[in-house]
């Protein structure tokens, strides 16, 4: 069945399908026609229907891929935003400067940290890890009060009440 008709019908099939199975379908069609197993109109009709079916199936697969990719992107974006919120904290009115790794922030007043489940520690500033290092730890001082505040991001307010020696600054270290 080689000719313009099959070439036209072949275009109904997705390209990948046509590349993989087109030759075999062509050979089988020739064999069936030669053996008188099928009439030409019936063969054309069959190829037309199955070509459309393969095309629809291909669109369905493509749509699934697009939808699942979009969902994955949204989930990743949400995760990234959520993690960003944990590590960076929400904007605060108190003066905050970052020091050391992203998990350590240096505060001079009240600091809001982004989750009630975070462990909040206060360590002397001189024991802060150098930028890029995250291995320095120090026994934490107690935090007297951790209270939730009204916020859609579920923040808590940590209020360090200890008095630091002169020359030391207060630092809140958050550990997830």
């Amino acid at each position: 069945m080689r000719g313009w008709l099959f070439r036209s019908l072949g275009k109904l099939y997705p390209k990948a399908w046509r590349d993989r199975y087109g030759g075999e379908v062509d050979d089988l069609s020739d064999e069936l026609l030669a053996a008188g197993e099928v009439t030409r109109p019936r063969l054309v009709l069959g190829l037309l229907c199955s070509g459309l079916a393969e095309r629809v199936r291909s669109w369905h697969r493509a749509r699934l891929i697009v939808v699942s990719s979009a969902v994955a992107l949204v989930v990743l974006l949400a995760l990234a935003l959520s993690l960003g919120g944990v590590f960076q904290g929400r904007p605060s009115t108190s003066p905050i400067s970052t020091c050391g790794t992203a998990r350590h922030v240096k505060v001079t007043g009240i600091k809001e940290v982004p989750s009630p489940t975070l462990t909040v520690k206060v360590v002397p500033a001189k024991l802060l890890p150098l930028p890029g290092s995250s291995t320095v730890r120090h026994a934490p001082f107690k935090v007297a009060k951790v209270e939730p505040v009204q916020s859609p991001r579920l923040t808590v307010k940590a209020v360090p009440v200890i008095t630091m020696p002169m020359g030391c600054s207060k630092t809140i270290s958050t550990r997830t």
Binding site: E24, E31, E54
Partner: protein, 105 residues
């Protein structure tokens, strides 16, 4: 198509797998064999539509071409899927036949 997929698939996939369970076959032999045991005559597009899905699912695999013919054979995974599918059909047939017999008596 997965094993779950074949469970809900049309009978054509089952016919192709059943035919290949008897040994590797190329397209023409598959059509003749299926016509022989099931009385169903598949067209080339329909047959290769089935083979494509089954091959994608790992239930059948292509063998090296012989002349211009391209034989396929069922995989071990395909045999297991076919066994499950036929066993399920047999269970349904058993229940159906019992109920039909009850309704006729």
């Amino acid at each position: 198509m997965t094993v779950e997929g074949i469970r809900g698939s049309s009978d054509r996939s089952v016919l192709v797998l059943t035919s290949l369970a008897g040994g590797p076959k190329h397209g023409y032999a598959l059509i003749k064999d299926i016509e022989g045991f099931a009385g169903v005559k598949l067209g080339p597009g329909t047959l290769y539509g089935c083979l494509a899905k089954l091959e994608q699912a790992g239930l059948v695999e292509a063998l090296p071409a012989e002349d211009r013919r391209h034989p396929y054979r069922i995989t071990a995974f395909g045999l297991e899927a076919l066994r499950e599918r036929l066993a399920e059909s047999a269970r349904i047939a058993k229940v159906g036949l019992r109920r039909v017999a009850g309704a006729l008596s």
